[in-house]
């Protein structure tokens, strides 16, 4: 007998198989339901949003501290919220007030306003010294996070003290180092686009305490800070050719780097140990990368190709150099050993890649990418994998890393005759893209390490 072309034995086989599968599945489910031990569930989907924190005004422990207490707590709150990882619960929404540093925490009040972390602090000013202490509370677990900390410093640099506190709180909440007590060197620009005056300037990472380092008589470009943050390399057109100069930040003294007659030298960067400088040098129409020993003045050629090699940047351990080259036709990113050996290409996507900068953590390379008429700031792993574009605009270029390797600052220029350059920052996740505060147009940022 046949049914749909199957013999009776086939049909019976199918029925047996089906029944067996049903029974086996049922038995397996039963085994799961009746398993011993705790119920186990896996959670793979959450939300990505800023963590709500509360920073009530710090307690002034004497009259002299009254003004500083309020200002310091404000700077801390702005630092934390400015990362995009935290969101401040406005002070006007607070139910509880902190009247003494050791007061018990009214957890219910802070839960009611959905504060998940609480920064409690106090300020004491004696003479010219301000002492700031703080503690961090996890509101929903009702526990203090780590030990309380105390910082002391001159009242004149109270903002730095506040940044230090914010760095410590950020580090405890995220597990990463902070970047608030740092500075940014940049090129301050004034005037029309075709006749722009440029000066070197330095400011706190948040735009405060701007200080101009050069006048606008000659064009300056691409400042770079040493790993100690005490010296600046930059390119200047003070003579007919661009040359590299080094400024001592404390003395404001400037010296020219080596003898560069009849050549163009640009794109300098310090080695991590600060003892040498790598830079691009144009000779006879060809540009290669050189290394200069600052103590001896000896220069050594690291690349030797008819193409243009420029924008070198050391790895954090100083063993490798990433740079851009057009040896394959268009600009791409390459890595070589610090002595110029073992060169290999890293970037492989469409478009042109330039201005690579090694992350302070050593795991990523930030770059500028030009593709299909748009400029991007992006990051990739040091083997070129996991390329991620963070921005897209008419002109984005020149990334620089925050000391903790979590944030990138870069130059964004708007189009048109009235276009202006500004400094922007973005988290390496691509979130929290925002403009840095500057007094006027600005370009070529270089982020310092954390200040001592």
């Amino acid at each position: 007998m046949t049914l749909f072309g199957l013999t009776l034995s086939h049909k019976l086989g199918i029925f047996r198989l089906t029944a067996a599968l049903i029974l086996a599945f049922g038995a397996q489910m039963g085994a799961v339901w009746a398993q011993n031990g705790p119920l186990r569930i896996e959670i793979t989907q959450g939300v990505i949003e800023p963590l709500p924190i509360a920073v009530p005004g710090f307690v002034a422990e004497n009259a002299a501290a009254l003004d500083y207490a309020a200002k310091i707590s404000r700077v801390i709150a702005e630092d934390m919220a400015g990362t995009g990882l935290f969101r401040e619960i406005p002070v006007s929404a607070h139910i509880s007030r902190i009247s003494a540093f050791n007061d018990p925490i009214a957890f219910a009040d802070w839960k009611a306003v959905n504060a998940q972390a609480l920064v409690v602090g106090a300020v004491f000013v004696q003479g010219v010294t301000a002492t700031v202490k703080f503690r961090l509370i996890d509101v929903f677990s009702g526990q203090q996070m780590g030990e309380g900390l105390q910082f002391s410093g001159p009242v004149g640099i109270w903002r730095r003290t506040a940044h230090k506190v914010a760095d410590a709180a950020y580090s405890r909440l995220t597990g990463e180092n902070g970047y608030f007590d740092s500075r940014v060197v940049f090129v301050a620009e004034t005037g029309a686009k075709n006749k722009r005056a440029k000066r070197l300037a330095i400011m706190d990472y948040d735009g405060a305490n701007v200080e101009y380092l050069t006048d606008d008589k000659s064009i300056v470009l691409a400042p770079r800070l040493s790993s100690e943050g005490d010296k600046i390399l930059f390119t200047s057109y003070k003579t007919d050719f661009p040359k590299i100069y080094m400024m001592d930040l404390a003395r404001k003294s400037v010296v020219s780097l080596a003898d560069q007659k009849g050549t163009m030298a640009f794109s300098p960067r310090f080695a991590p140990d600060g003892k040498s400088v790598i830079y691009s040098l144009e000779k006879g129409g060809n540009t290669d990368i050189y290394a200069l020993n600052l103590a001896s003045g000896a220069s050594r050629q690291l690349t030797n190709a008819p193409s243009i090699e420029t924008a070198p940047s050391f790895s954090p351990d100083g063993s490798k150099i990433v740079f851009e080259s057009d040896r394959s036709g268009g600009q791409q990113i390459y890595i070589m050993d610090a002595n110029g050996q073992n060169l290999r290409r890293v970037s492989s996507g469409q478009g042109r890649y330039g201005t690579p900068v090694w992350s302070p953590r050593g795991d990523l390379i930030a770059f500028t990418k030009q593709n299909q008429g748009r400029f991007h700031i992006g990051v990739m792993r040091i083997d070129g994998s996991e390329e991620r574009l963070l921005t897209a605009s008419f002109l984005d270029e020149g990334p620089t890393w925050a000391p903790n390797g979590r944030v990138i600052m870069f130059t964004r220029e708007t189009s048109g005759a009235t276009g202006k350059s500004s400094l922007y920052s973005v988290d390496i996740s691509g979130r929290n893209l925002k403009r840095a505060k500057t007094e006027g147009a600005a370009s070529d940022p270089a982020w310092s390490p954390l200040l001592p």
Binding site: L3, E42, T44, Q143, G175, V254, M264, R431, T438
Partner: protein
């Protein structure tokens, strides 16, 4: 009848039918001519780039990244004379240093609190902006991130003069909550096209199932026979094989999903470090009969893919999720309390990492 005549007749008849069917006797209408227009083929990327209103790029205004800045900028104004370099000459003024090696503070005792106690009923929270549980609509392009939305509506009694900074007339937008990270570049590239990506294939003609040759009662008999046979056959199971039906009081899949969903809505990984986002942490806890988690019982059972510091961050994020979302008690069937009084939650952020 002559077979040859029959074959001839049938053949002619078939030929005539075929000619009718093929339209041999009908008027042939002239096929309208196709109008041909010259077109240019654009790729999706080119089309998006054109729509983005980009400036004409291969002009002299566009900097060439490989060229040194010297080539991008018009010839610099020649310096008439070499000037003494330092513009600012001052005595060495070393950066003031702070005694900022942090000193540990004796931590004041935090009073024991019922960790999952609810806020008093009579307290009405003020308008603290609540974290949005779902993704907010994207702000305008280049919108700055507002410090807080509440600032826009709460007037400060003592307005503080704001230092003048270069800010264009940008709109301010609250920071968005999201379940995935979308960068500015991704947003630009992923503008959905209205045109379909592929054309649909025509549907196949539905097949008509042939009628069974076996009467229905025979099929029923076969099924019953096969089931009986299958049930009598031994099925290899684990030694401590469970009964074939769920035990009485066991949680259904729906009930377990309900618990998982209620916790994940509070699991915020937005402030975790990149390393902590790689950590898979298993958190154990006990739940009271009223559905509220016992905060003191929340502990790390295991973790992988990270350091202890990163695991601590991951654990704290998971603990916050459990306590926050369990503050009013998880909705679990009371009659099955034995099944959920002890729970292990595996927080695996693999789908939340930066990609």
């Amino acid at each position: 009848m002559n077979i040859g005549l029959l074959v001839s007749g049938l053949g002619h008849l078939f030929l005539l039918l075929w000619m009718f069917a093929a339209g041999f006797f009908t008027k042939i209408e002239k096929t309208p001519e196709l109008q041909v227009t010259q077109v240019t083929i654009l790729s999706t990327q080119e089309f998006d780039a054109l729509n983005a209103g980009q400036p004409e790029l291969p002009s002299t205004n566009t900097p060439d990244m490989a060229r040194p800045a010297a080539e991008l900028t018009p010839a610099p104004p020649p310096a008439p004379k070499a000037r003494p370099t330092p513009v600012l000459k001052s005595e060495p003024s070393p950066t003031p240093t702070l005694e900022l090696a942090p000193k540990l503070m004796p931590s004041p005792k935090v009073p024991e609190q019922p960790l999952v106690s609810e806020a008093p009923e009579q307290i009405k929270p003020q308008d603290a902006p609540r974290v949005a549980p779902v993704a907010a609509p994207p702000p305008p392009v280049n919108a700055a991130i507002a410090q807080d939305t509440a600032l826009a509506v709460i007037k400060s009694p003592d307005p503080v003069p704001v230092p003048e900074v270069m800010v264009d007339s940008q709109s301010m937008a609250p920071e968005a909550a999201t379940t995935q990270i979308i960068t500015e570049a991704t947003q630009t590239q992923n503008i959905p096209s209205l045109a379909p990506q592929t054309s649909a294939h025509p549907k196949p003609r539905p097949t008509v199932a042939p009628k069974p040759e076996v009467p229905p009662e025979t099929i029923t008999d076969l099924v019953a026979e096969a089931l009986a046979e299958a049930l009598t056959e031994p099925i290899p199971l684990e030694p401590e094989a469970a009964p074939s039906r769920p035990a009485v009081g066991s949680l259904t899949t729906f009930e377990m999903d309900s618990l998982r969903l209620s916790v994940q809505s509070c699991w915020n990984v937005g402030s975790l470090s990149t390393e902590a986002l790689n950590v898979v942490v298993t958190i154990g806890l006990s739940i009271q009969k009223n559905g509220m988690p016992d905060a003191a019982s929340i502990r790390i059972v295991a973790f992988e893919n990270g350091s202890e510091v990163a695991a601590r961050q991951a654990f704290e994020a998971g603990r916050r999720a459990i306590i926050r979302c369990g503050a009013k008690g998880f909705k679990l069937p009371k009659e099955k309390y034995d099944q959920w009084k002890d729970v292990e939650m595996v927080f695996n952020p693999k789908e939340m990492r930066m990609k």
